[in-house]
């Protein structure tokens, strides 16, 4: 059995990551075709290709979210980012792109936590630097097209006061043994790290957002479910959160887990901002994208044209094809490439050329949209404010007047 480590801070292994084993180790469920069908039936449209292609592959209690939604009961989506760098790479975009789709599909509220405090506690970053990165990252997130009416983005260092009641309630219920068993903290870790799991857990409970939901009434807030789309490495945080939810008298948050977008070097790693030449950044130029893909993207193609024509590419290790599974949304075209490339009718260069074009378009389009994000937009998205739980699908749970009186 290969050695594989998947924690919020480290993803490594020999060869590719065994996602089946992660499901078993973490105790989650594989996303089934039945579940995808139920999602499609609930939203009245097709599921996102990342669900159908198994990129979002694992879940916890997604049926509970669908049951709530079908009854017109409220739920919201919570995701986040640790702002360790100014620029995002392609891998960082996965949860946001998917969350934006969820918002469109369900018309639901989205809250996005920027854990600038976490990055300050873990990395060799200055306090103001972590805060600045968070603000820059917020612009990229807004550029994904989230609804200004139903999206709240917050830095922990800005929003700590409103989160604090839930943070210390969660902290009181979490022993250091639990935190150490789940996250591997030791005596040489700083005391801030030990409490951080409570800070990442807090947004899983609707009472962390009294202004968003327009009430401080716990009996109302306890009925609002939370859905968390995230990469599978974040699951440990939410396993702890789910254990605590019951004791907080809150519903357990539901989860949708994504696989990691591999680095250009290939499987068994996730794209990382700190390893140079292995990532495509959302700030890269067309030329840089072309160069990186051509130079670094690990190919499953054969050594010579002749061999490739005869044997075809090994798609399991081929990074360009893997990326196409993420970013080429046309199922027919993807299937054609899969067949032609694996059966030797396409060469790596041709597949890379297709990928380069797709990524160039995606990144350039993102850069255009990001340029259009104004300071006023950032201020709006980052202001706690009342939101209707669903777009025209249910009654607001509180009136605007009640909200204004709501203490935060």
């Amino acid at each position: 059995m290969t050695e594989q480590i998947v924690t919020p801070w480290e993803v490594s292994g020999e060869g590719e990551i065994d996602y089946d084993r992660l499901i078993k180790d973490f105790g989650s469920n594989r996303i089934s075709n039945e579940l995808i069908a139920r999602i499609e039936s609930a939203i009245g449209t097709k599921a996102h290709p990342w669900l159908k292609r198994g990129i979002f592959f694992s879940e916890r209690d997604m049926n509970q979210i669908l049951a709530s939604y079908e009854k017109g009961e409220p739920f919201y989506v919570y995701t986040g980012r640790g702002p360790s760098s100014e620029a995002l790479h392609l891998g960082h975009m996965i949860p946001f792109t998917f969350t934006k789709w969820l918002q469109d599909a369900f018309g639901c509220i989205v809250v996005i936590q920027l854990t600038d405090d976490e990055k300050f506690l873990w990395k060799d970053l200055k306090f103001d630097e972590a805060r600045r990165f968070a603000l820059e990252n917020a612009k990229d997130i807004i550029a994904c097209g989230f609804s200004p009416e139903r999206t709240f983005i917050f830095r922990d260092t800005d929003y700590i006061h409103t989160m604090y009641p839930n943070i210390i309630k969660i902290a009181r219920l979490t022993t250091t043994s639990t935190a150490r068993a789940v996250f591997g903290f030791t005596n040489s870790d700083n005391i801030g790290k030990h409490v951080f799991p409570a800070i990442q857990a807090a947004p899983s409970f609707a009472s962390t957002f009294p202004k968003i939901f327009g009430t401080t009434d716990e009996t109302v807030l306890r009925k609002i479910r939370c859905l968390i789309p995230c990469a599978i490495d974040q699951d440990p945080y939410f396993r702890v959160t789910r254990d605590i939810a019951k004791r907080m008298k809150y519903p357990k948050p539901s989860l949708l887990h994504a696989q990691f977008l591999p680095s250009l070097h290939g499987a068994g790693s996730k794209m990382s901002a700190s390893v140079g030449g292995t990532s495509i950044f959302m700030t890269d130029s067309k030329k840089q994208i072309k160069k990186k893909i051509n130079k670094y993207a690990f190919s499953g193609g054969r050594a010579t044209v002749e061999e490739q024509r005869e044997l075809g590419a090994d798609l399991k290790v081929d990074v360009p094809f893997h990326y196409l599974c993420y970013f080429l949304h046309d199922d027919v075209e993807l299937e054609r490439i899969r067949k032609d490339y694996s059966e030797g009718r396409m060469l790596t260069g041709e597949v890379k050329a297709i990928l380069i074009k797709i990524l160039q378009d995606l990144v350039m389009e993102h850069q255009e949209k990001r340029k259009d994000v104004t300071d006023k937009d950032v201020e709006l998205f980052m202001t706690p404010r009342y939101m209707e739980v669903y777009e025209k699908k249910s009654e607001p749970i509180a009136t605007v007047e009640e909200t204004r009186e709501g203490k935060e």
Copy 2:
């Protein structure tokens, strides 16, 4: 050697507390007559009787505070309370009474931390209960007569946002080993406790109070010294804080340590709100005070009048006389009682009668003053606002206009 335990959560020992040993164990300094003389010379008036009588008995770097003051350089006083109960007892009043004297003597700013989060993390208290206790305690503190122009009282749960940058900076510099060595935390303690030392440390640095000092400029704030009067059991927090100060590029906070007001049962314990019948509360009636002193105050007097006349009282264990050293400020009268009581010319009943009168007056006066504290007063004291560092003694370090612009 007697077994003696002095931590922020436990004070116990066989027989009386050995304060000389505490000075040695903690590595602080006994307050010398020279230091008292220098204080008197700086403030141009007599030192508080609790300094002269050795009730405030130990210190760290008090000379640094005096040197700053003599040069007209800024310092402020920081003290606090853990709001574990609605009513304060006599022992709780010691640091506040003394701090009020410091404020009068030096004309300095005082900040008072109410650690409602600590009590929530440690005790079987509801979140809102801890917050309510803190508010009730604030009224008692205001009733001590602090200057509304130069006193800021805050609950952690209200002020966390402004404290947070310093909290996580301190937390990053504190390993769990250190916290465990100093405070004895174990794996079964909740994760919130582990981070709390950073929360109690934060107010030791002037940057925790940008609005009070009217600036966010660290080069200015780093010049403002902090003096902490507290009971000696709080010293572990500030030993850690002093170690960290250097790495934060801040002056180490100075300290003045008080002995514990013993419970009515006698030496080797401190007055505790949670042990019934051993404490005099600031809410007690005249009748209750009389009854408690007469019934519970441990006497060093002899078994019979005859023996007392012959041998005199053992003042070392006599609680009524011990209390008089705290609350009878007339040195001549105290000396007369000391002599007469220890030499058998006074009986315990007479000494108790004097003490009862003094405490009844003190408690009744406090209750009167507390009644006069309005909600508006509480709001004022608990609002972060610009203050001049000394009363007419130095130039303000920032103008009011700058303050209004100051971000907090």
